[in-house]
Amino acid sequence: MAQPLADRCIVITGAGRGIGAEVARFTGSLGARVLVNDPGVNIDGSGGDAGPAQSVANEIVAAGGTAAANLDSIATEAGGENLIRQCLDTWGRVDGVVHVAGILRDRMIFNMSPQEWDDVIAVHLTGYFNLAKPASVIMRQQRFGRVIAFSSSSGLMGNAGQANYGAAKAGIAGGVRCLARDLGRYGITSNGIAPTAGTRMTQSIPEAAPLASGAVARAEEIEPPFPEARFVAPMVAYLLTDQAWNVNGKIFHVAGGQVSLAYEEVPDRSIAKAGMWTVDELRAVVPEQLMSGVINPAPPPPTLDLPGRPATP
């Protein structure tokens, strides 16, 4: 009997470690041919090591599957093109691409250097374009394909000290929605995953977060220790199956055994007036109606002398 992903040719970025490696192993065990991409850099993007990608590819082959390794950086246009070309040259098609690769350079916005901004945007967000662009050309010709990208609650909900990472990850969610509309009619789906898992990347958070965010709690309710990375793999694999042909343009939060569909950022509560509002009118209705029950995620401390804040009795 054919396996669920029999002969599907899948490219996975950042597959040498963490969630990417779990997705690679799991899809490999379901019959997919897996191109394991990972330049083996440190969390901050420095360095490089051929070991992680090669060892995951070797594991898949040792378990009876089909895999190859690729060390290109998805942050470059050439890296994305090489990756897609290698998959085509090796197996003749590209059925799915999964963009897991990412780095971290956490810093409060007022201290964040242009380099820290650019490097994080380059790997996560431009990396998504670098992968999706050449993949979409092939998939449109095939009239089949799956594009899956990794977002994060850091961007979807907000997390202090991560303006670069949060912007990139929320940008990926926007890209997922646009890609779904560009490619859906060609038999291609585009979806996003916002994972919570214990990996090398989340290990750095307990150190960075107190420094960066003071008393502010992380947006998600799940506290360390995070669920294992392998819990993310089944949902990614499901989105790659033929059964998921009509699942398109969605963002899923996955944390351990919990799988959720995210809200689209559509209007929630609204106020309306026939004609143009005045600032005075908005002052009267916005706090009480539109914002009723909505909390400030990082309110100013009571000691701060703040214009507009009513004096406390």
């Binding site: 929605r177 059964q243 998921a244 569909l261 143009m276 100013p300």
Partner: protein, 325 residues
């Protein structure tokens, strides 16, 4: 007395459209305004000193205070210079409004790297380029307002706008993070997703129609479901300004980290993309279990925004799929 008396504001992209409406209302409400606009075309080409200078002149002629800036926010050094103009002229910066943006619409499979980079540079890097130096000042002042412009194209999705939609959704994410970085210093950061008839939206129907015609498609509209009526028609850009001015005022000191849709007289708070529906299992999910949970619970009654055409042979729909177990 105006809602923004004595405040100093930098407004990017304020030579035309929504930005101009904000600059004029801010000045009416008593703010001193740096009108920033390099006067480029919608695609980012060219340049014209006219628009920024004209809006600044109008404000001064009406008895207000304004100066023009032609710097491009896509350039880090130029953006720092822009923030410096507020300091040089008036000694402080209370409000930063990031409106500047360009369009290079293209289907993903035809989008060039130049088209990707140019749009990301103005919208997203441009927002970083202005916010970073502004945040240093605002943190020192223990007071400030940052208002960014997002878009329904990124928050919900739109055809032919992978670059613009990614940038605009990224701005929403960045807004949520910066709200958390700066809130404790008395600074707020919010975003607006506007609907307005401007030079930019005039080009959207045209380019969307061209892209759809090239793809052999019927017209596609952004599916806002029950919210469609709010965005069915685009009204004058001036209508966006009052909500921006309110968020910039002292009265909005505790509104932080939100995205607001503004279209005509309708103002809505956007849903955060938090968990809407959840399924839970102890341990690892199997694929047949996920198939059932996704199809029958998570996505029940939620459509595919662009389902495969009838003439595409879809495995799982038109040909049998391999069993999941």
């Amino acid at each position: 007395m105006g809602a923004l008396d004595g405040k100093v504001a930098v407004i990017t992209g304020s030579g035309r459209g929504i930005g101009r409406g904000i600059a004029r209302l801010f000045a009416q409400e008593g703010a001193r305004v740096v009108v920033n606009d390099p006067g480029v075309n919608v695609d980012g080409s060219g340049g014209d000193t006219g628009p920024a200078q004209q809006v600044a002149d109008e404000i001064v002629a009406a008895g207000g205070e304004a100066v023009a800036s032609l710097d491009s926010v896509a350039d880090s050094a130029a953006a720092e210079r822009l923030i410096g103009m507020a300091l040089d002229n008036w000694g402080r910066l209370d409000i930063l409004v990031n409106v500047a943006g360009i369009l290079r619409d293209r289907m993903i499979f035809n989008m060039s790297h130049e088209e990707w980079d140019a749009v990301i540079a103005v919208h997203l890097k441009g927002a970083y380029n202005t916010i970073r130096p502004a945040s240093v000042l605002m943190r020192q002042q223990r007071c400030g307002r940052i208002i960014n412009f997002s878009s329904v194209s990124g928050l919900v999705g739109n055809i032919g706008q992978f670059n613009y939609g990614s940038a605009k959704a990224a701005i929403a994410g960045m807004t949520r993070v910066i709200a958390r970085d700066l809130g404790r210093y008395g600074v707020t950061c919010n975003a607006i997703a506007p609907g307005a008839a401007t030079r930019m939206t005039q080009s959207v129907p045209d380019s969307a129609r061209q892209l759809q015609a090239a793809a052999g498609m019927q017209a596609v509209s952004i599916d806002l479901g029950e919210h469609e009526s709010a965005f069915a028609r685009l009204v004058e850009a001036e209508y966006v300004a009052p909500m921006v001015a309110f968020l910039a005022s002292d009265a909005a000191w505790n509104i932080n980290g939100n995205v607001f849709y503004v279209n005509g007289g309708e103002v809505a708070r956007a849903h955060h993309p938090i968990q809407m529906r959840t399924v839970y299992r102890r341990g690892l999910w199997t694929l047949p279990e996920l198939d059932d949970a996704v199809q029958n619970v998570l996505l029940k009654d939620i459509p595919n925004p662009a389902p495969p055409r009838d003439d595409v042979q879809v495995p799982g729909r038109d040909t049998p799929a391999p069993p999941l177990a």
